[in-house]
């Protein structure tokens, strides 16, 4: 199959949907003339022109709100945040407007909008540029939240997000844009809210999503050498969550490790852990263990980053713990 970069997969998804539907447009900082801060939208201005690929001032609250208003009135905006760190400037419009308008209006107005951009750390960018917002947005009813980890998933899910009639948060990573993966030439869609078993295994289930899942893959390869067979479930969507796939896997392996890049308090791993103990308590042979970021802001120094972030070593340790092999 054809192999393309993650950023190309995103670009194809947007471009195909823009060709298909006149109402879809892309708006954000540096998306047009600069071809995207991370070159995701490269060439799109040339194809679609300035009416549909729109550079904004640095005014996130304003252009997020303009997107929501346009969506209420018949358009289907894709709003790019250069990174989701800057979505905090706009979060009022995402939470208080986009997520709630349908409910507040008794179903009269819907908000078919996609907010997309990178989430999470991208190396030594320090506190204000290194945050994970998946669980923040996933906490909010009215939103859907997608966090893919491969070019294939990214393309199929972004197309579904653009066609979805509700507001969707779509999260990427600067550290994934250059990743290559197989993506077919033919059109396909991936449904929102369906997890994917990325690796079959029998001894332990590892649940993860987004770029940090790579840490789980590395750990699984190492564990295999030691004769430990790990199953890796990629949630792909963190609102709604495909609990069923997770629970089925836990019923088979009886052990669960959750790997997530976010801070520990009240994140996705907390939620997974709650649901699994509630629905599969009798199947668990060990307490669930999670590997998450340290309960601190992420600093600049590499020694501190290493201490803070999930790593293959930390995942291996967690797996051995649930297998009582430590």
């Amino acid at each position: 199959m054809r192999v393309i970069e993650f950023r190309e997969a995103l670009r194809e998804a947007m471009s195909e949907e823009m060709r298909r539907d006149e109402r879809v447009f892309l708006m954000g900082e540096e998306v047009a003339e600069y071809n995207g801060a991370y070159k995701v939208s490269k060439g799109m201005l040339a194809e679609f022109g300035p009416k549909r690929v729109i550079d904004t001032p640095i005014a996130e609250l304003g252009f997020a709100g303009i997107g929501v208003g346009a969506a209420m009135n018949g358009l289907r905006p894709i709003i790019e945040f250069m990174t989701f760190n800057f979505s905090l400037v706009a979060i009022d419009q995402v939470i208080n407007s986009a997520a709630k308008i349908r409910h507040m209006s008794g179903g009269q107005f819907s908000v078919p909008i996609v907010f997309r951009g990178p989430t999470g750390n991208a190396g030594m960018l320090a506190q204000q540029h290194s945050q994970n917002f998946e669980s923040w947005y996933a906490n909010t009813p009215g939103l859907k939240v997608i966090v893919p980890s491969t070019p294939y998933d990214a393309k199929g899910l972004l197309k579904s997000a653009i066609r979805d009639d509700d507001p969707v948060i779509f999260m990427e990573s600067e550290l994934m844009y250059g990743d290559k993966g197989e993506v077919p030439e033919e059109e396909y869609l991936i449904p929102i809210g369906v997890a994917d078993i990325k690796r079959q295994g029998t001894d332990v289930t590892i649940v993860s999503f987004g770029k940090i899942i790579k840490v789980a893959h590395k750990a699984a390869e190492e564990l295999e050498k030691e004769g430990i067979s790990a199953e890796i479930i990629d949630l792909r969507t963190v609102r709604p969550i495909d609990y069923q796939t997770v629970i089925e896997s836990v019923k088979k392996t009886n052990r669960l490790v959750v790997v997530e890049e976010a801070w520990p308090l009240g994140n996705i791993s907390t939620e997974i852990t709650y649901m699994v103990q509630k629905q599969a308590f009798d199947y668990l042979d060990a307490p669930i263990v999670r590997v998450v970021s340290a309960d601190t802001p992420l600093p600049y120094a590499p020694t501190l980053i290493q201490e803070a972030l999930p790593s293959p070593e930390k995942v291996i340790k967690a797996v051995k713990k649930v297998l009582y092999r430590d």
């Binding site: 900082e29 540096e30 003339e33 600069y34 801060a37 550079d55 904004t56 001032p57 640095i58 005014a59 996130e60 609250l61 304003g62 760190n85 800057f86 905090l88 400037v89 190396g123 030594m124 960018l125 320090a126 506190q127 204000q128 540029h129 520990p264 308090l265 263990v289 999670r290 590997v291 998450v292 340290a294 309960d295 601190t296 802001p297 600093p299 600049y300 120094a301 590499p302 020694t303 501190l304 290493q306 201490e307 803070a308 967690a318």
Partner: protein, 343 residues
């Protein structure tokens, strides 16, 4: 140093003259900022410095003029293009270099990096990474000075891109309404990343934005350290008199890319060369030479002195240790025994 005649809300030209000593001080400071940043650029290419890194080269007259025009107790805050400003305030460059090297001896203990220099000792309230985020903070720092009844002001610097944020407009309105002792400084280097000022608004004379709040607002030649000094001095005096804030648009230019990974397709090489002809350091040298205050040998001496300081800074950074892993949990809270969640 006489008070400068100005019309309100207009373009400001300086008429005051300055002493030979002042010029020598400016020159040395500006050369130090430039050579330090040139070194920073080289070290970034060698991957000694990581993350996002934004150089101040070309804009030195703004920091130099601000610092000479303000007083010891005054406070300062800016965005992420923040290596030179604290140096101009007197922070030894070695602490800035060590910060970029992510060392425990850095001015933010290796935790902040290039974008987050802080020095409480030098009243530098930091480099901030969210565009516009520091603007209300600057007004708040000024609020505290007013509340405490001091004569101090807060210099609040920002880029041209930041003035399109709501935070800018909200802060200006409150600062003016409450007569806060703050001087808002726009370092208009014509571009926010790859976006020129003209592409973001119909209002391209950015000082005019202050007029909407009836704030005294001026455009200043930011490549003239004298003009910067005079404008900031007058604005600070107005604030000290209890008459509230001023907005100053410093017209300046950055020679390098926005950050270290910028292909700069949004401007021409000719444009950059054109601005270099009006270089702020060259202008200081020219004035000094016209007054027969300085010889090429004197300049050479300054260059040597600066080189020694920059070399010392790099050596200090190279030899400093990284923070220990346990320091991750330090400085999150003041409370020393905060119960962190640990797996």
């Amino acid at each position: 140093m006489g008070k400068v005649e100005t019309k309100k809300n207009s373009i400001k030209k300086s008429t005051a003259s300055f002493s030979k000593d002042q010029y020598f001080h400016w020159l040395e400071q500006m050369i130090l900022m430039r050579r330090f940043e040139e070194k920073t650029g080289q070290l970034y290419v060698q991957q000694k410095i990581r993350g996002f890194c934004h150089l101040y080269i070309g804009q030195e007259a703004v920091a130099a003029g601000i610092v000479s025009a303000t007083k010891k107790g005054d406070k300062h805050i800016t965005a992420y293009r923040d290596h030179a400003y604290p140096i101009a305030l007197g922070l030894h460059p070695k602490y800035v270099m060590a910060e970029m090297y992510a060392r425990a001896t850095g001015c933010s203990r290796g935790k902040g990096g290039s974008m987050h220099m802080f020095s409480k000792e030098h009243n530098f309230f930091g480099g901030h990474g969210i565009v516009g985020g520091q603007i209300p903070l600057g007004a708040g720092i000024a609020f505290a000075e007013q509340y405490l009844g001091t004569q101090n002001v807060c210099i609040t610097a920002m880029g041209d891109g930041a003035v399109r944020q709501g935070a800018f407009h909200e802060a200006l309105n409150m600062a003016m309404t409450w007569k806060l002792p703050v001087v808002f400084i726009i370092e208009n280097n014509l571009y926010a990343m790859g976006t020129s000022v003209a592409r973001t608004s119909n209002v391209t004379d950015l000082y005019k934005l202050g007029c909407a709040y009836e704030m005294p607002s001026y455009q200043v030649d930011g490549l003239s350290v004298e003009d910067v000094h005079n404008a900031v001095y007058e604005a600070a005096e107005r604030a000290r008199r209890g008459e509230g804030p001023t907005l100053l648009e410093m017209r300046t230019y950055r020679y390098r890319g926005h950050s270290m990974s910028d292909p700069q397709t949004y401007r021409t090489k000719e444009e950059v060369e054109e601005y270099k002809k009006n270089d702020c350091i060259e202008r200081v040298i020219k004035t000094m030479k016209n007054n027969n205050w300085i010889t090429d040998a004197d300049i050479e001496k300054i260059e040597e002195k600066v080189k020694a300081i920059v070399d010392e800074s790099v050596q200090f950074a190279e030899e400093s240790p990284y923070p220990e892993p346990h320091e991750l949990y330090e400085d999150v809270y003041v409370q020393h025994d905060y119960p962190f969640i640990k797996e």
